[in-house]
């Protein structure tokens, strides 16, 4: 199927000449619901599939069809790609890539294992995770832990080109999946806890040549911001906004890393993503708004120049990284059709923006426990328009160094971390895996050494007062900013979701369950316990007439740090009722892909064509 499309796009190229061709192979490929061609399924990050062989009626009969051990322990985030008859699967460090033959029960067609210096391992905050691969122009792209971006021949696994994107000896690493949009492959950088200055970098798919790099902070020449044209909440940001909102040269170790999921609107030719926390976690040490950490970005695909930015958490005091995915759904808001961008931030607010202009439309709490800010100021005439109204009691800046600020919700994990949400055009709702965890946060003085942790705060995490569940799976109406339904989960839901035309949302849990729920009601219709806790993203695809659902299990990641040993303080109050037990009582390490399908007897009966 995709070969046919490939030759079509080549034909167009030949017709119009390479320079003017608008052919976008990937844009065509992603329209085929049988494949799963990009880390998030499509450019818009909807994570919605039109497949509907598996329905609310028959999902109860779902069963594992086959499984595959990755041979790696550690946390398994992300999901495989499926293109035609081949599945491409990644692992955490050492970042093995497998091409599996779907015609032959997952037989290994080729395997690629990079040689990396293991000294990169300890500069990876929060486990050695990797969130997956990208495909484009016959190549599979892998962003290795040591920041090397490699392009592999999708047919053979042979290295086509490689390029180094950062310096791990200074704490820069790669955990995010690369994303291919049109003729470029985009990679981010991790290391906000090591004082790495974040950037998004575009390389040419064809040859790996650097197209542009846009930093999160620094002079306009670095951030690719035009002080007169780039807007923040409708107004030009002014010259060198990424410099003059910092003290001295602190921007050079300013964080704002970019390890989430990116999206692309081909009509607007804009690339969207979020930048992470400013370094250090001690806010007292870095006065100013610390622009443009904690920011949603819209950049031109070809030039990288920022069209608009929106800083959600100016001068962060809680490690509310802004890197979570940006979902490009079109919605009608107040009777007006809008091209929207929806983003569930770590800070607990669900944002809906006009993705053409960056206008803020909705900002509401998607977990009622959120307490650090009363609201986001939506009054366009207010001095604090677009800013969160911080509650002094929960301000680690106002309380200061060496003071333990207690009971802040959400915890640094955020009301949601990177685990991506999904949209269903059938219900008009978003399906969001969330954390329901609060924290005590004590910042203190810290010293910067290149390549060493640059944290500067101590945290303790626990469920909100009087509650035992540390996660919720929710349905969210982003047009008005309201929770439609909410299912309690014992642990944080650290798995990306997928929604289908079969009326279902699939997600995984930290204990290891794959679950299917009814999109309309949230009713749980299916669950199966996989070999390990799930922090990967669920996908669905079709092969030889059968719909499959696939998910990586393999507990770890930040969830593995914060939860494997049990959250500390919570035990005192909750131990008595036995409501909370350490995750290690439920699951152990191990990377396994489990693929589900309906058994033949349960397949819907389709009338013969004649």
């Amino acid at each position: 199927m995709h070969k046919l499309l490939l030759s079509t796009s080549v034909g167009i190229l030949a017709l119009f000449g390479a320079g003017v061709a608008n052919a976008d192979e990937l844009l065509d490929l992603q329209k085929n619901p049988k494949d799963w061609v990009s880390p998030t399924g499509d450019y818009a990050n909807l994570r919605y599939s039109k497949l509907k062989q598996i329905t609310t009626e028959n999902v109860g009969k779902l069963a594992p069809a086959w499984s595959f051990s990755t041979g790696v322990l550690r946390g398994h985030e992300g999901a495989p790609l499926v293109i035609g008859d081949v599945m491409y699967l990644h692992t955490p460090f050492p970042n093995i890539v497998y091409a599996l033959d779907l015609n032959n029960e997952g037989k290994i067609l080729w395997k690629y294992e990079p040689k990396q210096d293991p000294s990169v391992v300890p500069v990876m905050c929060c486990d050695t995770v990797n969130r997956g691969l990208a495909y484009g122009a016959g190549k599979i792209f892998l962003a290795q832990a040591d920041t090397t971006l490699v392009a592999l021949d999708a047919k053979t696994g042979k290295l086509v080109w490689s390029v180094k994107n950062g310096d791990p000896s200074k704490g820069a690493t790669s955990t995010a999946a690369p994303h291919v949009f049109k003729d470029k492959v985009f990679v981010g950088i991790a290391g906000g806890e090591f004082g790495v200055r974040g950037s998004l970098t575009a390389y040419n798919v064809a040859d790996g040549k650097l197209a542009w790099r846009g930093y999160s902070m620094g002079p306009d020449s670095d951030t690719l911001i035009d002080g007169e044209k780039t807007t923040h909440l409708g107004k030009p940001v002014g010259k060198d906004s990424g410099l003059n909102t910092w003290e001295g040269d602190q921007w050079q170790i300013g964080g704002g890393t970019t390890w989430g999921w990116y999206s692309y609107d081909p009509e607007l030719n804009l690339v969207y993503y979020g930048s992470g926390n400013p370094s250090t976690w001690n806010p007292k040490q870095r006065p100013g708004d610390n622009r443009w950490s904690m920011t949603l970005w819209a950049r031109d695909l070809d030039t990288g120049v920022a069209k608009w930015v929106y800083q959600m958490t100016p001068h962060d005091e809680w490690d509310y990284d802004g890197i979570n995915e940006t979902i490009l759904a079109n919605q009608t808001i107040n009777g007006q059709a809008r091209k929207t961008l929806v983003h569930f931030d770590r800070n607990g607010f669900g944002y809906t923006l006009d993705r053409v202009t960056g206008e803020l439309l909705v900002a509401e709490k998607y977990d009622p426990a959120v307490n650090w800010a009363t609201k986001v100021d939506m009054d366009k005439n207010s001095k604090t328009y677009g800013r969160p109204l911080v509650v002094s009691k929960y301000s680690t800046e106002q309380n200061g160094e060496d003071v333990n600020t207690k009971g802040v919700c959400p915890a640094a994990l955020g009301s949601k971390d990177m685990q991506p949400a999904s949209f269903s055009p059938d219900t008009g709702l978003f399906y969001v895996p969330t954390n329901h965890v609060c924290m005590d946060y004590e910042p203190f003085r810290v010293s910067y050494t290149a390549g060493q942790p640059y944290v500067g705060a101590t945290l303790e995490m626990f469920p909100p007062p009087g509650e035992t569940n540390m996660g919720n799976f929710i349905a969210w109406d982003a047009r008005v900013g309201k929770i439609v339904w909410s299912n309690k989960e014992q642990f944080s839901v650290w798995s990306g979701t997928v929604t289908t035309a079969g009326g279902l949302a699939f997600y995984g849990t930290l204990e290891g369950y794959l679950k299917a729920v009814d999109l309309k009601t949230g009713k749980e219709l299916y669950k199966y316990k996989t070999p390990s806790g799930i922090i990967g993203n669920v996908i669905t695809y079709e092969h030889k007439g059968k719909q499959y659902v696939a998910v990586l299990s393999g507990v770890g990641g930040w969830a593995g740090i914060g939860l494997a040993a049990g959250l500390s303080k919570s035990n005192e109050g909750l131990g008595a009722v036995g409501g909370y037990k350490a995750l290690s009582d439920y699951t152990a390490l191990g990377g396994v892909l489990t693929v589900f399908a309906l058994p033949d007897y349960a397949l819907p009966i389709v009338a013969p064509a004649n």
Partner: protein, 173 residues
């Protein structure tokens, strides 16, 4: 009070980066001597002191704080380990203070069943080296459960000698 960085490096060379020397248990953690709010065991190694009302010495508290900034992302909250690094509350039962020092300064590498685990060298990191005794004292207190999980509820005042040494160490070029 603390070894200067140069001394620490020399020690790490002597210790062979903590990997080749046969491990020696730390001995009795009972505090027998106090110098400016810091406690030592009979061998002269730093140790914790918990008062009858549960108040911990300042160094234990300081170690708790720095541990949960520098160490816990790998070694887990409360020194109880994570999915990819050992529980230090158990590890410190198997080696003594000098070995602990050597490992923090020089790092170490373990290969178990094809799963590389790497501890970085912290010799250049003031956030670790200025507080290395504090870290040892806290983890030692966790190893005997003299200090429970989470933040110690009560603690001694910050000793003037600590504040002075901290400023000096963190400001050193």
């Amino acid at each position: 009070m603390r070894l200067p960085l140069v001394g620490a490096l020399a020690l790490s060379v002597f210790m062979g980066f903590g990997t080749t020397v046969r491990a020696e248990p730390p001995g009795d953690p009972t505090a027998v001597k106090e110098v400016d709010g810091k406690w030592f065991d009979a061998k002269g190694d730093p140790t914790y002191k918990v008062q009858a009302d549960g108040a911990v010495d300042w160094y234990t508290f300081s170690g708790y704080r720095r541990y949960h900034a520098e160490c816990h992302v790998c070694h887990g909250p409360n020194a109880e380990g994570s999915t990819y690094a050992p529980a230090l509350k158990n590890s410190v039962k198997n080696f003594n203070y000098a070995e602990f020092y050597g490992i923090v300064v020089g790092g170490r590498e373990n290969k178990v069943a094809g799963n590389d685990s790497v501890m970085p060298a912290f010799a250049d990191n003031k956030n670790a080296m200025c507080y290395i005794d504090d870290l040892y004292i806290y983890i030692r207190a966790r190893s005997t459960e003299a200090v429970g999980r989470g933040r110690p509820e009560k603690k001694a005042e910050k000793p003037a000698a600590f504040a002075e040494a901290e400023t000096k160490c963190m400001s050193a070029k």
